[in-house]
């Protein structure tokens, strides 16, 4: 009979990060062949067409918005921040998982991140693009959006640098820039691989151009690795700061339900939570469709589900502390908002739905069976995405629609254009993902090679 340690070793081996039997050549072949083919699969084309259709909806709703102004939306006094801010926070939160996977897990030496970091980073960039659209459109006259950036002007005016909204401009634009740099730097060696493998002359030229002439020199790798590690180190506090600043947009205001010190950590945890949900939503169909199960294994799903559960519990703690502090503060407005309005008021179904999605449903993740089942995880990830959207809806709308003066209370109802714009950004996001998985190596090839080699060394040592 095998000793306990030996059986544990076998269990570890049956649960690998990369399925056995792969070599440097075979992983290169497997990942790059998705890009280097002339074929467009019918499933890809159908999905792409559907998303492109939603992008048309986006174009129409932006066009009509520019013609008629923000009056076509449901926002008005007292609820001046409607779908635009809800969706902005939702999208930017989704982006955070990509940075977490690529930067924080790299620093923590979590080697399982390797096969999911590339598309998680792509997801970050596309999510930030979607997020950025909302404040730009919400300003009403987007062609004056550059007024948010400091520039010399004939009015001799400057922005108000004490305002969290101004901090947001810097935080989000820095985040978008650094995410793109990080992604591109990670891509350079893989683009060189594609250049060297491409048969099509046109493709070869494009990849040669984009890979900047990368030749895998050890002197280059040496600087490259230092720069990559430093970028990871810089992205880590950056990602925390971005959602902290987003939460300041609320917490610095004196509106009941917003003015709470729990907001920054609770927002950051919520961002990572929703981001991991979105990574799962994307990874599960992608690995199935492109047959990447031997690189994105059930171990990856399991680990992501664990992160989702942990951050979900932090979010649940946030909800509890919000309620506790509202009660403990003894402030009438806070107490009214939390217990009378949010929990029992006109929007209470949304509140209880969010509690169901973000606190109750995810308890299923304690079970290993659920964490290993792609179908169950996919459904749960959708529930979490919905739950996190509801959370932002509840925070924005319930606090604004009934504040200090009952005479100024009102209700908020989104219009068809609010919904169309939101669906349009989902279409845009998915369309970009479709383009990404087809034209860019969706898994970091050189990092998988490194992982393979480390595995070989470990085996040789044991």
């Amino acid at each position: 009979m095998a000793s306990p340690s030996a059986s544990a070793h076998i269990a570890q081996e049956s649960d690998p990060i990369i399925a056995p039997g792969h070599s440097l050549g075979s992983v290169t072949e497997k990942i790059s062949s998705v890009v280097l083919t002339k074929e467009f699969r019918p499933g890809w084309l159908a999905g792409f067409a559907l998303c492109a259709g939603l992008v048309m909806v986006l174009a129409i709703s932006i066009g009509w918005l520019l013609i008629r102004g923000v009056g076509i939306w449901g926002v008005n006094i007292p609820v001046g921040w409607g779908f635009a801010i809800i969706n902005f926070v939702w999208w930017i939160g989704i982006g955070h998982a990509g940075t977490l996977i690529s930067a924080i897990l790299l620093l923590l030496n979590q080697e399982w991140r390797t096969s999911i970091n590339r598309f998680a980073e792509a997801m970050t960039i596309f999510a930030v693009m979607c997020a950025g659209m909302f404040p730009l459109l919400h300003v009403g006259r987007p062609w004056f959006a550059y007024w948010m950036l400091p520039h010399p002007n004939t009015y001799a005016l400057w922005q108000q640098f004490r305002s969290p909204l101004q901090w947001d401009v810097f935080a989000v634009s820095t985040y978008a820039t650094v995410s793109m740099l990080f992604w591109y730097v990670g891509l350079i060696p893989d683009l060189a691989t594609l250049r060297d493998r491409a048969k099509n002359v046109f493709a070869k030229y494009i990849f040669a151009f984009l890979s900047l002439g990368w030749r895998g020199s050890s002197r280059h790798w040496f600087r490259y690795e230092t720069a990559y590690l430093l970028l990871a180190g810089l992205s880590t506090p950056l990602v925390v700061s971005v959602h902290t600043v987003v939460s300041f947009d609320f917490a610095v205001g004196i509106i009941p339900g917003w003015h709470a010190t729990i907001f920054p950590p609770y927002f950051v945890a919520g961002a990572i939570y929703s981001g991991f949900a979105m990574v799962l939503t994307l990874a599960i169909p992608i690995r199935k469709f492109f047959k990447m199960e031997d690189l994105i294994t059930s171990r990856h799903l399991d680990n992501m589900a664990k992160v989702m559960l942990a951050t979900g519990l932090i979010v649940g703690y946030g909800y509890f502390m919000e309620a506790f502090m509202a009660w403990y503060s003894g402030n009438d407005y806070e107490r009214y908002l939390l217990f009378k309005n949010r929990m029992q008021g006109p929007y209470s179904p949304f509140y209880w739905a969010l509690i169901f999605c973000n606190v109750i449903a995810i308890q299923a993740l304690w079970s290993k069976k659920v964490r290993r089942s792609p179908v169950a995880l996919f459904i749960l990830s959708i529930i979490v995405n919905i739950g996190m959207w509801l959370e932002r809806f509840v925070i924005v709308v319930t606090s604004l629609h009934a504040d200090f003066l009952p005479s100024s209370w009102g209700m908020y109802y989104p219009t068809i254009w609010d919904v169309a714009l939101y669906l349009g950004t989902i279409g845009f996001f998915l369309m970009m993902m479709f383009l990404f998985v087809r034209f860019v190596p969706m898994i970091s090839i050189f990092e998988v090679r490194m992982l393979l080699e480390q595995k070989k060394e470990k085996e040789a040592a044991s």
């Binding site: 600087r223 970028l231 700061s241």
Partner: protein
């Protein structure tokens, strides 16, 4: 061998099957006294980097400078706009309400540091480089896939076409090729 032949030669390249034999070969070449050489690998191989005698690089210092510059730009921008050029009291706070300037200072620190990491790395590596002689070697396209290469360059003082070639052949490579410029 004539002078023009040497001038038209970039170096001699040996091809290896795995990282371990490349690391071993690089160590031996370094011990022989060769310095003008480089290894080409499909992923960063630490042993090879060490064997080439690379210990420290300039990137951390550049990033530090970039970060410092970002911090100075960020804070002085806020200070100049809010205290000197357009003093506007908001919420009864002092003009130089410095804690409110920290978020932007922080963001610009990260932005400048990240930009200097990326562009510093690309510039020191000489990118973009549209042409490089090593690509003249047959099979070199496998350096980005599954093969490992060591190139001793003609500029090395110890370089001698025959001797260097013999030395590389003694390392049991898959193949040795002369790299035209």
């Amino acid at each position: 061998m004539t002078n023009t032949e040497i001038k038209s030669l970039f170096g001699i390249m040996a091809e290896f099957k795995d990282a371990a034999s490349l690391a071993e070969a690089t160590k031996r070449a370094y011990a022989m006294g060769y310095r003008q050489m480089d290894a080409y690998t499909p992923y960063p191989v630490e042993d090879v980097i060490h064997a080439l005698g690379l210990r420290r690089n300039e990137i951390p210092f550049i990033v530090f400078l970039g970060g410092c510059l970002g911090a100075i730009v960020g804070f002085s921008m806020c200070y100049y706009f809010q205290v000197i050029d357009y003093p506007l009291v908001a919420g009864g706070k002092p003009l130089n309400s410095w804690p409110m300037y920290i978020p932007i200072t922080f963001e610009l620190t990260v932005l400048f540091a990240a930009l200097s990491a990326v562009f510093g790395m690309l510039a020191l590596n000489g990118f973009p480089s549209p042409y490089h002689p090593v690509f003249n070697c047959p099979h070199f396209e496998r350096a980005s896939q599954d093969r490992f290469f060591l190139c001793i360059e003609a500029t090395d003082p110890l370089f001698d076409l025959e001797k260097t070639k013999q030395f590389l052949l003694s390392l049991k490579p898959v193949e040795v090729c002369e790299v035209a410029r």
